[in-house]
């Protein structure tokens, strides 16, 4: 399920198998991309595979999702995205017309993001061995700013910002499968975040601790990664988290928590608490950050946990999900 993926189960799989075998200092932080030196430059490299179903959904398709996702992973590392590769795994019989649409969207998305797709690969597998079309993208970006960004960089007193209403992509996808008798006026939030990130870094270059795009597992999962890696508490105000009414309504019916729903064009940023107004102003001045909001603070205690202050003044633990969310209440 969309909101279940990316939880603790995935994380332990990654740690048990990939990290064990590939272990090296660049991989170890398990950030969205790796940052390394090449000559006098610092580069960032990232890769991601896209298996979304359905391939076409309100607000986008697997093609622009694949471009934006990799652009975003580079951007949140503090890199200026430059070049992308694109790999396709196609199921025998996949309509050529659909492939054209996917690829055309990729070209537009690359153009919008200011990157070039410079290499690629295509494989065709037997009917039934794949679900129409899978796309992999990898990307290289140039890091032009000094300083390191990373999930381990949050400190008590910092502010937690999201760049806009959350959960739109994940809910759109669930509804786009057409299995549920639910109507909602929603489109995916897929978008390239490099412009927005640049605006934020220009406004307060020294004050940004870390940024992530809240994809699989949603904002809750990202915040848990930050809390654990930084050894801090993340305290979120429930009422401050921007959620569109259509998303809230659909989530209520679906019985899921928007905090765990994937976004594809929303930034979670931790910034020095002293410059939060500057940061918010910079984000809000950008078309993709109009709905930016301060949603919480970094605290000292309890380290490693994300807490949600609810409307009634309660404090709920927002934990990393182990798998799909099974009810704990009885």
């Amino acid at each position: 399920m969309a909101h279940g993926a990316g939880g603790k189960a995935t994380q332990s799989l990654i740690e048990a198998i990939f990290l064990e075998s590939f272990r090296n200092p660049l991989l170890e932080p398990l950030e969205d991309g790796a940052v390394f030196g090449a000559g006098t430059e610092r580069l960032a490299l990232t890769t991601d595979s896209y298996v979304v179903s359905p391939l076409f959904f309100p607000g986008g398709n697997i093609g622009d999702l694949a471009v934006n996702g990799t652009v975003n992973d580079l951007a949140v590392c503090g890199a200026r995205p430059l070049y992308l590769s694109a790999g396709f795994i196609l199921e025998e019989g996949f309509p050529v017309g659909d492939l054209r649409r996917v690829v055309a969207s990729m070209a537009v998305a690359a153009e919008v993001a200011g990157v070039q797709i410079v290499t690629g690969d295509t494989k065709v597998v037997q009917r039934g061995k794949a679900d129409g079309c899978y796309v992999n993208t990898a990307g290289v970006g140039l890091i032009e700013r000094p300083g390191a960004l990373g999930v381990a960089g949050a400190r008590p007193g910092d502010a937690v910002i999201v760049s806009g209403p959350i959960g739109e992509h994940g809910v759109t996808i669930m509804l786009a499968r057409g299995e549920l008798d639910i109507e909602a006026d929603l489109i995916s939030d897929t978008a390239p975040l490099n412009g927005l990130v640049a605006a934020l870094l220009d406004a307060c270059p020294e004050a940004v601790r870390c940024m992530r795009d809240a994809t699989r597992g949603g904002v809750a999962t990202i915040l848990n990664e930050i809390a654990r890696a930084s050894g801090v508490a993340v305290v979120v105000e429930e009422d401050a988290v921007p959620v569109r009414q259509a998303v809230r309504g659909a989530c209520e019916l679906l019985g899921i928590d928007p905090l765990y729903v994937a976004c594809e064009g929303r930034l979670v940023a931790v910034v020095d608490g002293a410059v939060v107004d500057t940061a918010l102003a910079a984000l809000r001045a950008h078309p993709l950050g109009e709905g930016a909001a301060l949603v919480g603070r970094i605290g000292e205690d309890p380290p490693g946990l994300v807490l949600l202050k609810t409307g009634f003044g309660g404090t709920r633990i927002v934990d990393l999900l182990v798998g799909d969310p099974l009810p704990r209440i009885c």
Partner: protein, 810 residues
């Protein structure tokens, strides 16, 4: 001179802080024996010397006539050479070694202390902290062992000369009573205003005035803060509800004495014994008709009628319905559900079981002072807002209850461990704990099988308790609460540390639930250096019932509850098991149905109604059913979730079946607190109705009970216009018959004829009584709970029992 003998005697159990040494001293002096008595970390040690017959009499009396608060678990004696000692002395406490002494639960103020409090000539006249060796705070003020004043929250109060004299006099009732104090040296009351500012005047007098004026008073009690309001004043109780954000869950009431309890409720002998016991729990009692005029409607809002279920759905999400509130203020719910006035279906049938009211008697001197001066019952509810844990630190209480309380009646004796009031009800002439906490924790429960290695059992998630066990003792914690709340989770982790220290346990085995998302499971998995034992939720329920009854099985276990993680990754909850403490087999269960929306289907019973009806009617639910009409807007969407399996985990839960039928019958579509639909459904049942529905069990090993059929049968009955009370009674009888038939099937294959009934659904009086009666008629021996709750509060004991049994099997 006749022969003399000398004995070294060791007494173990709850023998410290309960007047055991003065008792031993008095006994020895009376018999003219020499020797000494002292406390150490294991309990009480005695050396006694004199004529053989007298020494024998002395030793026997240790077992047969200990002080009221003591629990003597073991007396061991061995002969040593005589020394010629003729005087008897009390030795100083020693330190070091293992800490095996047991901390006593808190005890309600004794009659001797009350007499002093009422005696104008006594130096403790009117003193709100009077206590002695036989009563007063214990567990809630203990910071460490051995149980000595410096290790309690009384450490900061230096005894005055008078108190010190009593404390050191073996003949005095206060000999070594650690919390001993008086107005000259002990804690003091203060009354603070809304914002924590000190208020002038006598604190109790002013607090009483405030309550009489209809105010909400925060009162610092033994284990935390309460919120109080005049029980008879609707505006005060309604204000309390609104400020606490607690819409519908009934409030408990404190009455001055037994007569006060009787003026509101029926009280039988067992209930009387519980109400007046040193533990002073909240006892759920049947409300009397007269209570309607003495208790405001908002104390226990009315059981919803089908009409108000409609109303509450119209404003879905808000748990309470405007309609039922309005109706409630016109006619008291007590009257309503006991059939006095004539508007709801319950009244129309005129034969409801009646409303249950939680009642308790004063258990601290302060409660006595307040209740006497007030002269009428007060609502006394936990000092918190919504689902937060009860406040117990002064600063925290002042912050969190700001805007809720109009004044704070506080004192300067700190509470070390947050401890909620215990709740019991009496069924089949026996107490059934619903929440085991103040007055009971941390009294150890004996385990039939000794533990090879010390165990920490981490419990479940809601109504959480944990359990620390070693030797033959299981120390089940006080009620912790819902672990998703961070404050509560911290009470859990800090509570574990506290218990391990108090009972000198280094766990080598850690038991936990199988649910991967329980906070307690995650806590257990993160611990290092101990062997982990995963215990299936319903196996733990049955094991807790076995441990509760001091047996080891095998038995037929019927575990009916809300939800528990099954080994097949579905959510179980309507289970017939063949189980002993080591292992279990699933012999039968309710058919699985989807829970559309997961946890949302728990909060909105109508979703379970939709899922069950969809199964029963093969996808063609008649759309003229009221439940369909009331939820028309989201009905198809919810059905789709279930059919497509989108966030719709499968469950065999009996609790969800109760929810489904309560919704179909129009009782409640959306709940405001856990178990609300089932509780109201039970209360509506017509006790005169003897009918039942058909039921279907198919297959074997495991057999399957088709619960959805029952939902459809009820839908048809409701459609035919049958009274809600009749439908409820028929449903309860049917479930009891299912339990009995399921057990009969399991007996055929297993040869077992003892049945253990556990799980939260067996808090339901009607079901428990009817199922047990059918089983006994059929020759079964029936085990039910008496010491720990059948709900998830008992899970930790079950986990510990299973872990111990498996450890014995290694």
């Amino acid at each position: 001179m006749s022969t003399r003998v000398r004995s070294v005697i060791r007494v173990e159990g709850v023998v410290q802080g309960v007047g055991f040494r003065p008792f031993v001293y008095g006994l020895a002096v009376r018999l003219g024996l020499g020797g000494l008595v002292g406390n150490d970390e294991r309990g009480v040690f005695i050396e006694v010397e004199g004529a053989p017959a007298l020494v024998a009499e002395f030793t026997a009396a240790l077992r047969t006539s200990p002080p009221p608060l003591a629990t003597v678990e073991r007396v061991s004696a061995r002969a040593v050479p005589v020394t010629g000692e003729t005087r008897f002395a009390i030795a100083r406490s020693t330190e070091g070694g293992t800490r095996r002494a047991l901390v006593s639960p808190d005890v309600a103020t004794c009659d001797d202390c009350l007499r002093e409090m009422d005696d104008p000539a006594d130096r403790r006249y009117g003193y709100a902290f009077v206590n002695c060796t036989n009563c007063g705070p214990r567990f809630t003020i203990v910071r460490d062992v051995p149980y000595d004043r410096p290790n309690t929250t009384m450490a900061g109060f230096a005894m005055c000369a008078d108190c010190a004299r009593e404390y050191h006099d073996p003949a005095d009732r206060r000999f070594h009573a650690q919390p001993v104090c008086c107005p000259a040296c002990g804690p003091r009351l203060r009354l603070l205003g809304r914002d924590g500012e000190p208020l002038a005047g006598d604190p109790v007098e002013e607090a009483v005035r405030l309550l009489r004026d209809g105010g909400v008073l925060a009162v610092k009690g033994l284990g935390g803060y309460h919120l109080a309001a005049l029980a008879s004043r609707e505006s005060a109780v309604a204000a309390l509800r609104a400020r606490k954000h607690r819409q519908e869950k009934p409030f408990a009431v404190m009455v001055a004495d037994l007569a006060g309890a009787r003026s509101l409720c029926e009280v039988d002998e067992v209930e009387e014994r519980l109400l007046t016991s040193g533990a002073r729990p909240i006892v759920l009692l049947h409300g009397r008709e007269e209570a309607a005029s003495r208790v405001a409607p908002s104390v226990a809002p009315a059981v919803a009628s089908p009409a108000s279920a409609t109303a509450s759905t119209a404003s879905q999400g808000t748990a309470s319905s405007g309609t039922s509130q309005v109706a409630a203020s016109e006619t008291s719910p007590l009257a309503a559900s006991t059939g006095v006035s004539g508007e709801t279906p319950a009244e129309a049938s005129g034969a409801s079981e009646g409303l249950w009211l939680g009642v308790m008697l004063p258990y601290t001197p302060l409660h006595h002072l307040l209740l006497r001066r007030l002269g009428e019952p007060v609502v006394l509810t936990s000092g918190n807002v919504s689902d937060e844990p009860i406040a117990y630190r002064d600063e925290d209480a002042l912050t969190r209850l700001r805007g809720v309380a109009d004044a704070f009646l506080v004192h300067d004796r700190p509470i070390h461990t947050r401890t909620d009031d215990s709740v019991l009800r009496v069924l089949r002439g026996r107490e059934l704990p619903l929440r085991r906490s103040r007055g009971y924790a941390p009294r150890p429960l004996p385990l039939a099988l000794g533990l090879p290695r010390p165990v920490l059992a981490c419990g479940a998630e809601l109504k959480h308790t944990f359990c620390v066990a070693r030797g033959t003792h299981a120390f089940v914690s006080h009620h912790i609460g819902d672990l998703e709340n961070y404050e509560t989770f911290r009470s859990f982790t800090e509570g574990v540390e506290h218990f391990l220290r108090l009972f000198d346990v280094v766990p080598e085995v850690v038991a936990h639930d199988l649910h991967p998302e329980y906070m307690s499971t995650k806590y257990a998995l993160a611990l290092e250096g101990a062997d982990l034992v995963g215990v299936q939720h319903h196996h733990a329920h049955i094991a807790s019932c076995l441990a509760d009854n001091g047996v080891t099985g095998p038995v037929i276990g019927v575990a009916f509850d809300g939800l528990g993680y099954g080994p097949d990754a579905t959510l179980w909850g309507g289970e017939f098991l063949v189980a002993d403490l080591v292992s279990f087999e699933r012999a039968g269960h309710l058919a699985t149905v989807p829970m559309p929306g997961g946890a949302a289907a728990v909060r909105q019973p109508w979703r379970m109604a939709a899922a069950c009806l969809d199964v029963a009617y093969g996808g063609a639910v008649p759309d003229d059913l009221d439940v369909v009409r009331r939820n028309a807007e989201s009905w198809d969407g919810v059905l789709a979730l279930g059919r497509r399996g989108v966030n719709a985990p499968l469950t065999s839960s009996a609790g969800r079946l109760f929810d489904a039928v309560a919704s179909v019958a129009g009782v409640r579509d959306v709940i405001g607190y856990e178990g609300q639909a089932a509780i109201e459904w039970e209360q509506l049942a017509d006790p005169v109705e003897k009918g039942h529905y058909g039921h279907r069990l198919t297959g074997s090993s495991p057999f399957v009970v088709h619960g959805a059929d029952l939902v459809a049968a009820i839908a048809e009955d409701v459609r035919a216009g049958t009274e809600t009370g009749t439908v409820s009674a028929r449903f309860h009888t049917t479930v009891a018959r299912i339990v009995a038939e399921g057990c009969a099937r399991v007996r055929e294959t297993s040869g077992l004829s003892t049945v253990a009934l556990s799980g939260g659904v067996f808090q339901n009086a009607l079901l428990l009584v009817r199922a047990a009666a059918l089983l006994e008629e059929d020759g079964f021996h029936v085990l039910t709970h008496g010491q720990v709750p059948p709900n998830d509060g008992g899970i930790s004991l079950g986990q510990a029992a299973v872990a111990a049994a498996r450890d014995n099997h290694r």
